[in-house]
Amino acid sequence: MRAHGVALRLESCGKTFADGTRALEPVTLDVARGETLVLLGPSGCGKTTLLRLIAGLETPDTCGRILFNNADVTAVPIERRNVGMVFQSYALFPNMNVAENIGYGLKIRGTPESERKARIAELLALTGIEGLEHRRVDQLSGGQRQRVALARAVAAQPSVLLLDEPLTALDAALRERLRGELNRLLRTLGITAIYVTHDQSEAMALGDRIAVMRNGAIAQIGTPRDIYFAPASRFVAEFVGAANIVEAQCKAGALTLPGGTLRVVNGAESGIVLAMIRPESINVVAADGAAFAGLVDSVSFVGDRQRALVSGAAKNPITVDVPHSIPLKAGDRIGLAIDPAAIRLLPREGA
């Protein structure tokens, strides 16, 4: 699909609020045309502030610049920035029906009525809510409101689409379903999109790239695979999926642990290191002859697999995901085989 929208660039954009809170440290960011960038992080990390800076609802601290296709829009207010924004609470106008809500941006721009009607019909079909034109906002379900909010945001062909936790207000089952639809829609539109969420599975499903944020700064930015398999810090490793973080002595490409030794790929350094191992990358083998072993503390049933807590292998218990084909019970002694490429060494400091 052809890419639409603008290429986005932020230069040293920070935000300090009037009461002194520093919501965002200066950030420099490039988003390609048509790319979906997800801002992922816990509440208070600055992701919504960053989104609002791009939207034009807030202005960056001095020296910050925002560029749309290399044009400086820092001083342009939101009314003239031509962005499409989907709010967490949807912000649908209760005094207008669905069609009027969707057509509002077009009405402001002076689009003739016939053209407006055609575009509204197009969007209703695109978001799958044909037939709801004349409904009032309070007669819509959560999922329907979300779709109207989306249709309204893209109606006037914005340069960039900004979504502030659009699925958070919905229940889990609906969220799953709409996530897939949203993904398909973003691909179809091919528009540059910035998506804010605190849900890592949403981030990984929707993002071309993910920027993991913490305390007002970007901790790591990269593709979902990069973030998941090669986290740059302990925080990122633990935020995106379950992670075992073990401390070990590294020498000559091998880690020494209470439960045995593990070979690592990039074990050039010596000394004490922090290693991240995902639960699903640990294979259960026979304990006898295993280089690395431990004792099963407890096993819980998680639906599609078992989750075992294994002690004695490292200083703290390790979580291991085990398929049902391998029966386990508390007290079993098992061997743990891990592909060296799946062990990621992290920088030592707490971040």
């Binding site: 912000a91 649908l92 005094n95």
Partner: protein, 287 residues
């Protein structure tokens, strides 16, 4: 009824029963007070309204008799004008005060709501001080134009008086409503390209509509039933409450006064009932 039963199973029942009995007891003084000094007198009023020579047709006479009809029309027009003017003024000032912080804001808000508890008579006096024979406006126009403007005792002065007691009340309601507006709606409108006036027209004012209806109804009902202000400004018998007063005290026309009172009461009550469906249970003419 206030009995303690020892058995366990019936203790709960006993407590509930005695509680209901106690609750009933608690309502008796209220029942007596309200029945004796409100319900009974109202019934008497309605009966008196029908006791004159016209009988029950006296109630229709309110609309048929020319003098009464004119007075009623004047009162309604005055109340309507007051309501519209008050809503407009309160919206402009209320929006401004709620959305801008500036030094001295608290003081201005206090000044605007301070006359809230003035009785109508005092309001009348305030208007006399502004526009009476020794009034400020009179002095000012005398110095500027050589002609002393005295309008306290005319319809204009009455209108001003009605504004005086309506504005504080309506401003409070409007300011509370402005505070509750969802800011993301306005942001959404701005994101779609709406300039400040469009945002007011399409989002803010429609959002304040319930508050307009509720406070407008209160202002209207209060203005309809206002007596003290008109009394002090001693205007010609141009409003309904004054007419009722003169019919009762000067003409001893009890039946007519009663009928007019009942009519006025019904209209006021109906308007407030309407406001309650939009504004919630805290609405009352408060006087």
């Amino acid at each position: 009824m206030i009995v303690f039963r020892r058995s366990r199973r019936s203790t709960r029942a006993a407590i509930v029963m005695t509680k209901r009995a106690f609750a009933g007891l608690c309502l008796i003084p209220l029942a007596i007070l309200v029945a004796a000094f409100f319900v009974l007198p109202l019934a008497r009023l309605v009966a008196t309204g029908a006791s004159g020579e016209l009988g029950i047709k006296a109630y229709a006479a309110i609309l048929l008799n020319e003098r009464y009809r004119t007075t009623l029309t004047n009162t309604v027009l005055l109340a309507a004008a007051t309501t519209i003017a008050t809503l407009a003024i309160a919206t402009v000032t209320g929006l401004f005060l709620q959305r801008h912080k500036f030094p001295g804001r608290a003081l201005v808000v206090a000044m605007l709501t301070f006359p809230l508890a003035f009785p109508g008579v005092v309001v009348g006096f305030m208007i006399i001080l502004l526009a009476g024979r020794q009034g400020l406006i009179g002095e000012a126009t005398l110095r500027l134009f050589g002609d002393k403007e005295v309008f306290a005792y005319s319809m204009g002065g009455l209108f001003l008086g009605y504004l005086y007691f309506s504005i504080p009340r309506v401003i409070l309601t409007i300011m509370a409503a402005v505070e509750k507006l969802d800011p993301s709606l306005e942001e959404a409108a701005r994101a779609l390209g709406a300039g400040p006036w469009a945002v007011y027209r399409d989002v803010v004012l429609p959002g304040l509509n319930p508050a307009f209806i509720a406070s407008g109804a209160i202002a209207f009902a209060t203005a309809m039933g206002a007596f003290g202000t008109a009394f002090t400004l001693a205007t010609d018998v141009a409003v309904l409450p004054m007419l009722i007063y003169t019919e009762f005290t000067l003409s001893a026309n009890f039946a007519v006064a009663a009928a007019l009172s009942v009519g006025l009461g019904l209209v006021t009550w109906a308007i407030l009932a309407l406001a309650r469906t939009y504004g919630g249970a805290t609405v009352a003419a408060a006087g």
